[in-house]
């Protein structure tokens, strides 16, 4: 029945993803996250530290996994990141959202759009019309099919990271995977 092993990423990183780092980096890290989830908030600076440490050896992609029924503002925040992405500022909004997890209501999101330097009118209209809801849902379902069952869930080069997400554990796991891939 199961052709594939559980805990593997079913949708590889592609042109549709928001990506940081070189396309030919030896290792790709994918995070499924929720802007309202406090654990994702805690993971945010750890991912940044990993990026600093590994430089061009790491490509990072973020996908949305908003548990909207328990996190009232998660879906809107994810759509806001996409709306910013449509104006070329996904990562600026991504950082802003994680740095302001306690205020993710519509008014706040519009405020962040202004801070980030977006066309605020377009941003607000797109949010109100849920233009990016299907895009967020695609991420969510690809996470479900990959066995994501909570947030944050990380995949290191396609394989789910099962350990804790503190800096040392993550760095070790990524380096081990790099060595495995190089061998």
């Amino acid at each position: 029945m199961r052709a594939r092993r559980q805990g593997t990423l079913v949708a590889p990183v592609s042109a549709r993803d928001h990506v940081q780092g070189p396309a030919d980096a030896p290792v790709t890290l994918v995070e499924y996250g929720d802007y309202q989830c406090p654990y994702c908030g805690a993971a945010h600076p750890i991912v940044k530290a990993l990026q600093r440490e590994l430089g061009d050896n790491l490509r990072f992609a973020f996908r949305h996994f908003p548990l909207a029924t328990i996190h009232e503002y998660a879906e809107g925040a994810a759509e806001a990141a996409e709306a910013a992405g449509a104006q070329g500022k996904f990562w600026q909004m991504h950082d802003t959202l994680f740095e302001n997890q306690q205020a993710l209501d519509f008014e706040s999101l519009v405020g962040y759009a202004e801070e980030v330097g977006l066309n605020v009118e377009r941003f607000a209209t797109e949010l109100e019309n849920h233009v990016y809801a299907p895009r967020v849902r695609e991420d969510f379902i690809s996470g479900i099919r990959s066995g994501v069952n909570g947030t944050p869930t990380f995949f290191i080069h396609g394989v789910r990271h099962e350990g804790s997400f503190d800096f040392e554990t993550m760095l070790e796991a990524i380096q081990a995977r790099m060595q495995g891939l190089a061998a």
């Binding site: 029945m1 559980q6 548990l67 029924t69 379902i141 947030t151 503190d166």
Partner: protein, 222 residues
């Protein structure tokens, strides 16, 4: 397996804890078995009260694929009962879980709740079953905004869980177990997860798609 990153939150339920260690899951389908280690990154983390030896999964006694699903009638609200036979003609995912308010199943049901539209596309419904009483279920469902029925396997306690082979007698609650029952009332897939591990929904979707393709083949052959 706990994360060291434990952010401060105002929710007292989000305290870090000792949770179940990684354990292999058991899958019963076509005699295959799959390994999956624990994933413990959940929103709400509290100790698994009375979980016994944590994460222990005995040789699975869960009814396997191919078995007739035992019928049952359970309360879902103080004045409403639900029977398995009510769902004949539909597929049903029975999600046994240890208890309302325990952190992992909270997320498990939240995940199923999120993907109900996709599950329904496969002519399937999801119901949760635990030994909690109906009033507890009502409060829990409201708190978590759950849109799937929660059945109360309350009196005699755990009787339905026993009939499916997933009752933990020494703990007084059920395993964290999933059963996919087809339109005719036959179990087509079953799965027992380590007690502290949210099994996610990928197994459910894989099993539903397998059923779809079997049905399509059968239709083509007929």
């Amino acid at each position: 397996m706990r994360s060291d990153a434990t952010p401060q939150t105002s929710n007292s339920k989000e305290q870090s804890t000792n949770a179940a260690p990684e354990r292999a899951k058991t899958v019963t389908q076509s005699g295959s078995s799959t390994q999956l280690t624990g994933n413990q990154r959940f929103e709400r983390r509290t100790p698994q009260a009375g979980a016994g030896p944590e994460g222990e999964v005995q040789e699975s006694t869960a009814l396997p694929a191919g078995t007739r699903a035992p019928d049952f009638t359970l309360r879902t609200t103080p004045d409403q009962e639900v029977s398995l036979s009510d769902f004949r003609g539909k597929r049903i995912v029975l999600a046994f879980y240890p208890a309302d308010w325990s952190p992992v199943c909270g997320d498990e049901l939240a995940v199923y709740n999120e993907v109900l539209p996709e599950i329904r596309k496969h002519n399937a419904e999801v119901v949760g079953i635990s030994v909690d009483g109906v009033w507890c279920h009502i409060a829990y469902a409201q708190y978590n905004k759950l849109h799937l029925p929660l059945l109360s396997d309350f009196e005699p306690k755990g009787e339905v869980a026993r009939s499916y082979g997933v009752y933990r007698k020494k703990d007084g609650f059920s395993e964290r177990a999933l059963f996919l029952i087809d339109e005719e009332g036959t179990i087509r897939w079953s799965y027992v997860s380590p007690i502290g591990v949210n099994p996610g929904a990928d197994g459910v979707f894989d099993a539903l798609e397998e059923l779809d393709s079997q049905k399509a083949q059968k239709g083509a052959a007929a």
